[in-house]
């Protein structure tokens, strides 16, 4: 042992030296180094995750946009269909209204016409009666008195209005 040079104080000194070196290096070299390495790898991982996320987001957005487009197209189609339906109905209603209006106008016109004719016929009848009375009075001036005369006329008129009906 002596020949080899084993010497307890020197051995202890070297143990202490190594321990000091270990502690100092741990504090000033390994800790910052490992932290830096970890930070670096964390950052790399983070950016890769981010890229992945962005990619996924893009894919999702694409699907979404597609879905929205589809929905919009369907909606548009539905709206067009509805609008054409509404148009059809409006057209139908307008037609219906026009027809009714025309009918009403026609009815009214007819009524007016009837009334007018009635009036004309009435006047005609009166005139005719007067003429008839006049004529009859002229023909049978003395044989008939006024009373009989009027009854006769009434009869004639009755007949004529019956005939008319």
């Amino acid at each position: 042992m002596e020949k080899l040079g084993i010497n307890i104080p020197v051995l202890l000194a070297q143990l202490v030296n190594f321990t000091i070196l270990l502690i100092l290096l741990y504090l000033f070299a390994y800790k910052p180094l490992l932290r830096t390495l970890d930070n670096r790898s964390a950052r790399i991982k983070e950016s890769m995750d981010m890229a992945q996320k962005i990619k996924e987001q893009a894919a999702r957005t694409e699907v979404e946009v597609k879905a929205q487009l589809d929905a919009a197209r369907q909606e548009g189609q539905a709206m067009i269909a509805q609008a054409s339906q509404v148009g059809e109905r409006v057209k139908e209603e307008a037609k219906q209204g026009a027809r009714q209006e025309a009918q009403a106008v026609m009815v009214r016109a007819k009524a007016e016409m009837d009334r007018e004719r009635e009036k004309v016929v009435d006047e005609l009848r009166k005139e005719f009666a007067d003429i008839a009375i006049l004529a009859a009075g002229k023909v049978i001036k003395e044989s008939l008195d006024k009373k009989v005369h009027e009854r006769l006329i009434q009869e004639v008129l009755e007949q004529s209005s019956l005939k008319k009906k």
Binding site: E2, K3, L4, G5, I6, N7, P9, V10, L11, A13, Q14, L15, N17, F18, T19, I20, L21, L22, L24, L25, Y26, F28, A29, Y30, P32, L33, L34, R35, T36, L37
Partner: protein
């Protein structure tokens, strides 16, 4: 000869080198053997190297009545600690910035080491082992490399006992340093083992009576293997110590002998070799500690 300008320069340098080598041969121990004592050998011939394994005491520090010896190897250790810490501080001072230069290479080296450690021990255990392993690695390597600097082993001062002692000597050539490292390695391996799998299970690796208590005769093999493993835990320390001590000392002696035989030039390739040896020994020490640590934290499979 203007045409040969460049190669003339090279030729001159080559001639100078050859002359240097010739002088060196004549002046070294080999030349002395052939030509005897010459004026050249008196000027450049080195003294005969003497190898003594115990480190010399440079001075002593009195602490509580004890005279604590400070050897030249301890001084060298302090020097390499200083170098390591200064480099680490400079390298990690502005860690947040983008790495460049010293920080980059320091970081690169430690990152490679961390990758190696995590590759063997896994991420979590690798992180636990790394500080100790990296310190062992840096300590062994810087100690070995610093000793290769010119002038490291050639400063001589007057020691306390009146004779001249070298001020610095490679720390690895003092057996106390490898022994201290081996003890550190042992302690940490046991600590990692116990703290990961628990004292009972950890000791169960070495005192394996389970099969024997079940009445199986083959359980004796388990007991024997366990005790053998226990023994090997301690033998590791010895092999750690002598591997590093032997390599460092052999390197030092090799350089000394080469310098003695041929003082100039020839030693250069051996310096390159010693650089490699320093790196390899550091890697082996750290690597073996890593392997032992990984083995210690591994849970022994039951019933095979």
């Amino acid at each position: 000869m203007p045409k040969l300008g460049c190669s003339t320069k090279a030729l001159v340098i080559l001639l100078l080198l050859v002359a240097l080598l010739v002088l060196s041969f004549i002046g070294g121990a080999i030349g002395k053997n052939f030509f005897g004592e010459t004026p050249i050998s008196r000027v450049i011939g080195p003294e005969k190297p003497e190898v003594h394994l115990p480190a010399d005491i440079v001075f002593t520090v009195p602490v509580f009545g004890f005279a604590l010896p400070v050897t030249n190897t301890i001084l060298a250790t302090w020097l390499s600690m200083l170098v390591i810490i200064v480099v680490a501080l400079i390298a990690t001072r502005r860690m947040a910035l983008a790495p460049g230069g010293l920080q980059n290479s320091f970081e690169w080296g430690l990152e490679k080491l961390l990758g190696f450690v995590e590759g063997v021990a896994g991420h979590e255990n690798g992180r636990r082992f790394f500080p100790v392993l990296a310190t062992i690695f840096l300590f062994v390597m810087v100690n070995a490399w610093l000793a290769l600097f010119p002038g490291f082993g050639s400063i001589e001062i007057h020691g306390p006992e009146g004779k001249g002692v070298h001020l610095l000597r490679s720390a690895g050539t003092d057996i106390n340093t490898p022994l201290a490292l081996a003890i550190v390695s042992f302690v940490f391996v046991e600590y990692w083992g116990i703290s990961s799998i628990g004292l009972r299970r950890y000791l169960g690796k070495f005192f394996n009576f389970k099969q024997l208590l079940k009445g199986k005769v083959m359980g004796l093999v388990d007991v024997f293997v366990g005790l053998l493993e226990l023994l090997s835990e301690f033998i590791r320390m010895v092999s750690f110590t002598f591997r590093l001590f032997g390599n460092m000392t052999a390197g030092e002696i090799l350089l000394m002998v080469v310098m003695f035989l041929v003082p100039w030039g020839i030693a250069l390739p051996f310096y390159g070799l010693e650089l490699l040896v320093g790196f390899v020994q550091a890697l082996i020490f750290a690597g073996l500690t890593l392997v032992f640590g990984t083995m210690a934290v591994a849970v022994h499979e039951e019933g095979h």
